[in-house]
Symmetry: C2
Subunit: 333 residues, 2 copies
């Protein structure tokens, strides 16, 4: 078995939109394992918008490569609890292999009818973000109407599908291409969707939800948040998960909502959250979603980029919105 | 007993900052009471920033005059439960008298050592707003650090004093004159205070709270909110009560915070609220505050304008920030 690995490192801080030159490919040979360690061959790597934020931090490099949610297979083991062949989830992505200890991995056993990559999507951090935002932050009630921005992305698509399982009323999404709008309506069953390039988000959301909304799951910020504040009914909630509109330019954010005082006037609640504080919700997510995946009522949509050497392309494509559903890199089968 | 009353009516919608010509004084004679009615001679009337917002609505006139929290004395009664001499709280302000039924009034019996006007201040809607914002919305915990904008006003002064009773850590306030800043520190015991005219609110709040804050009680909006978002620690809360900075010009609000995505980045919660949804908290407020008023540890600060004929001046002065503490009009003793 080859002990040669390939990894991608961040070699400088991106200025604005990241470019390939911000990254470098390195190769090496995995060290001999110490007791308690395993060598994991990665199968699928997740690239996510939040990584753009991490790239501003110092000292981001960790282990072999850069942080990222990953699924892999144990190919060599000095931990009896993790024999060769075990499938594991871990956070040491951006590499073909990782040397890990038991406390850095979680064993994954996909039930029948559940594809393994779902554990990086609707059953992974992506789906957990959607589930926590809807249930613990927005506290969506049956019958309540929902707006999701960036709805065709990994988180957005999970939000729409999980909201339906939770009994949401009308589900409305925004996306960035006509094809994604069609995907939201025809494939994911959204009640309404629009392309945010077509006209102001405020106008389009008002047209799609003339009676208003109760909850906004916010992945974008800027004009999307302004539209949501205008459309929200009294005591509406915004679960604020992402602001992809400003990840690349935090010092020059998009126009801030001018109608912010709607929060006060309509007794709204706008709450940011991170899934890291809610990992205990995973069991509830799995109990809700797995039967629906097995029954074909939840789609595990993903855009898969094949080959580890394309991980930087996948990440940059994600930032350009080239994915529909969760963006993954397939390293090996 | 005279049955002649004087009232002030709104005669047009104010454009921008209200002017005296937006109002008219009317006089009349109270009608004979029907069974179940009482004639109330008003003693104290409250003028509050929220009234500016109401003045944009159609059909604001109600009863004799305009809505407003008031304390009065029953001077004629056809309700056995409300004999002459009873002191009552009601919402039919902006007049010297009101004809009311039992379901429109609440009997007020001030305990020894508690001045009656406190029931329009720290024991009235003003204090209840402060109490609810701190306990139910921000959920202030002992030791947590607090920033209050417009801290020398009625609500702000109650927030600072009630927060101290609740065990807050550092209490920091903003105000609009050097005299008010001194009042906050010397009289109300704030730990730090600044005049928002002196430099940017963000800079001054950062200097006053170099280690950040946990809670912001927001009465102003605009640059004050921006400063709070910058200073708040992870999982900080904003209880958003007022936006006096934009009451006069809702179509041209002040610069919106450019750092709004801090809500997402720091898992903040920004929540608007109205005291009308929390009237059941009154008993808890009274239980907490009354003993401290009686012991002299809570100040019932107010700016009293004498004479009903000066109510419009009092209201316009309030909007200009001329009051320290609760702004009241004394109609009679």
């Amino acid at each position: 078995m080859s002990r040669t690995f390939t990894a991608v490192r961040q070699v400088r801080r991106p200025e604005g939109v990241p470019v390939p030159e911000d990254f470098a490919v390195v190769t090496g040979t995995a060290p001999d394992l110490r007791a308690g360690q395993v060598l994991v061959q990665n199968l699928y790597l997740s690239v996510d918008p939040y990584m753009r934020g991490l790239m501003r931090r110092e000292g981001w490099a960790r282990g072999f490569g850069l942080e990222g949610r990953s699924l892999g297979r144990v190919v060599e083991s000095r931990d009896p609890a993790l024999p060769e062949g075990t499938t594991v989830f871990h956070h040491h992505g951006w590499a073909t292999h990782a040397v890990l200890t038991g406390d850095e991995v979680r064993t994954v056993v996909a039930p029948p009818g559940v594809p393994l990559p779902a554990y990086l999507g609707v059953l992974g951090g992506t789906g957990l973000t959607a589930f926590v935002g809807l249930t613990r932050i927005a506290r969506l009630q049956p019958g309540e109407d929902l707006f999701v921005s960036a709805a065709a992305g990994g988180v957005g698509g999970s939000v729409g599908q999980i909201a339906r399982l939770l009994g949401a009323g009308r589900i409305i999404g925004s996306a960035g291409t006509p094809a994604k709008v069609r995907y939201l309506i025809d494939v994911l069953g959204f009640d309404a969707a629009f392309d945010y390039h077509d006209a102001s988000v405020t106008e389009q959301l008002a047209a799609a939800a003339p009676d208003g909304i109760d909850v906004c799951f916010e992945n974008v910020g800027g004009d999307h948040l302004e539209a949501a504040l205008a459309a929200l009914r009294t005591r509406g909630r915004v679960a604020w998960c992402g602001a992809i509109a400003e990840y690349n330019n935090p010092e020059d954010p998009p126009a801030a909502p001018r109608n912010l005082a709607e929060i006060m006037r309509k007794d709204l609640r706008v709450e940011g959250f991170g899934v890291r504080d809610h990992l205990d919700a995973r069991a509830d997510l799995e109990a809700l979603v797995i039967p629906h995946i097995q029954a074909g009522r939840i789609r595990v949509d993903q855009t898969v980029v094949d080959g580890f050497d394309r991980i930087v392309d996948a990440f940059l494509g994600l930032l350009r919105g080239e994915n529909t559903g969760k963006m993954l890199v397939r390293v090996a089968d």
